[in-house]
Symmetry: none
Subunit: 204 residues, 4 copies
DNA sequence: TATGAATGAGCATTCATTCAT
DNA sequence: CATGAATGAATGCTCATTCAT
């Protein structure tokens, strides 16, 4: 009965643009994650979305634009996860790190494979020209900022080049989240170990 | 019959094969580094090597095999660099780390771009089936072994899951070498900072 | 039922159709001239006309019909120019030719590119089947008629096959107007030279 | 028997490049003539030539290049016809014109449709950039040169702008050859009429 | 062992046309 | 009458791989 009522609202094959775009986004994410950039054809995305392949080009200039949009969406989503978690922390570096890790693992758990796919190296997509700064570099800079502020507050050793250390932290997190999960580590183990590792590395 | 006689008469041009293979390897490395996996065609490699297109397939089953061979070669080369450097160290973790970093940066300097190219994600090459374990994972395991031994010797905190920490170390090193150079950091700065970072993280 | 009542109540927006058609014609001409048949999409025409894509098909069966209509319009327009000019002439062949040339050049000047575009070869539009006689052939026949009458009146050499000569005259005019303008000849030069050329060729 | 001997020489499916190119040229000409530029796909040309469609791109950069090559070949072929015929003439303008017409009609008879197809307007192929000067313009210039020389020799009225007249002559010839044949005129009629027409137009 | 002409499945993209609104 | 999102057949072209020489 419920489904019946629902059906009436949803069944309409729709002719509304936003709906198509949403379908495409969902389909694109699914396929980019499952198969990677090169093994995913615009046609596959459209078909997965239940649309004709011409429709794909109503929403994206080309395949690359679709991928870039997928990456940006993932970035923003993760950002939200991290912001929400970190807001709860008491501001100490340890808690901040722990909460950030939690946020990343939360995201990875609820969006498996997305971060990995979104970090596909720029060289891999034909690029040709510009492309926004790769995700990893942006995130490395964010960490550098965090470390700088913590160092100024005396929470982090002052003899570090924060830019280098920002990258190091990001690398440690990325690599452990990527691989840790792959080999089935338990989440709390990952968080505990990595937090401990980073806190010890950073404390004054 | 004729062809048989001919074959016997002809002084078989002997094994000039290794020479061709060496040329192909050099050419493949150059192009994989410069253009990446997808933008490099077997034909390009053969031509760069000064050989006919067909010759490529005398030495490799397919493009993927050629790439995998390039990766393996790079891995072994780097291994040699690291082994040589680490052999000089006094065995303390700090020195081991510092020498390893030095080895990596040495290699990166003398073989620019090679590590980056060799780490191209498995998902990117068509894969289809198995594929050897990616470089990063293998290296992460090597680090895990190192840390395990150091922990057993009491040089490293004993409350770590070495597998996780191995990945963390690798991640920190990889990310800093990758990005550090890109932004023109000075090598000694990188080594000092990263060594300090890792040593502090690990010491008991 | 509801829709029925509604229909009856609504003051049918009346015939605003002609307005749309006029806009489409103007837009089609502009684009066929600027870009040619193949590079002009029905969508472009509609958009240039400030109308939705679908509206195009309210007025034309397909793209080909639109182009053919453009050609016919141009033909009629030119016809008017020629008729008006020739009406002023004193009926001698020389004056008739000169006035016709003047008419064509007038039209070309005030409608630059239109004749060229309208003469796009039939083979170029997908054709598939029939297609109206190409412009050039129709005009060639018109000239043949003119020459026949003039020959009967003794104004033109009687040893010509008027059909062939009609084509020759048309060809000379077409080619000179096409190319003459392109290379920036002065109009009076063109008219003088071509008139002289034709008059000498035709006189008994 | 003869064909048997021949077969031995010819049957070889060949792996020689020039043979493929020749096949492609023949096929391209056939299809460009029969269907026009737009209705002919590279794939069709290859198939008509009995080759895979990849082979097409071994010989031409793209479809446009193939068409341009077809045009150039036709131009050179016609040139040969004209040169051969004109060489026989006694140098008077009348004979030169008559022989040129003969050459063109010869060519048109033995290569039906080729000239029409080769004169496909530049605007029709995507062009985008340069493209060699269209055939008609080149030929118009050739005629201008002829007329200039004849005028200097006193064989042609001196009050003409030779550039305009060159175009006029070309136009007359082109249009009559194009249309004349289409409506089944007899060749000698065409030649006689057009020669007479041009000679009268030009004589001093 | 070496060659490179030949291949055709496959890809990204376009565009004339339809139809639900 | 008008709209424009949706469609999918069709296109030009690439490239990993084969095989006759």
């Amino acid at each position: 009965m419920d489904s019946d009522t629902l059906a009436k609202t949803e069944t309409r094959p729709a002719r509304r643009k936003p709906e198509s775009l949403a379908k495409l986004k969902k389909a694109a994410r699914k396929l980019f994650v499952e198969r990677g950039y090169h093994a995913t054809r615009p046609q596959d995305i459209a078909r997965e979305a239940g649309l004709g392949h011409g429709t794909f080009y109503l929403h994206y200039d080309d395949k690359r634009a679709c991928f870039l949009s997928f990456v940006e969406d993932a970035r923003l989503e993760l950002q939200d996860y991290v912001d929400a978690r970190v807001a709860r922390s008491d501001g100490t570096l340890e808690r901040t790190i722990a909460e950030t890790l939690n946020a990343i693992y939360d995201y990875s758990e609820t969006h498996p494979g997305v971060l990995g796919a979104a970090m596909t190296d720029e060289a891999v997509i034909d690029a040709e020209g510009v492309q926004a700064t790769p995700l990893l570099v942006r995130w490395g800079r964010d960490w550098a900022d965090q470390v700088r502020r913590a160092a100024e507050a005396g929470d982090v050793a002052s003899d570090y080049d924060v830019n280098i250390i920002g990258q190091a932290i990001l690398g440690a997190i990325h690599q452990t989240s990527d691989e840790g999960y792959r080999s089935g580590r338990k989440r709390q183990d990952l968080i505990d170990n990595v937090t401990r590792f980073l806190v010890r590395a950073l404390r004054p």
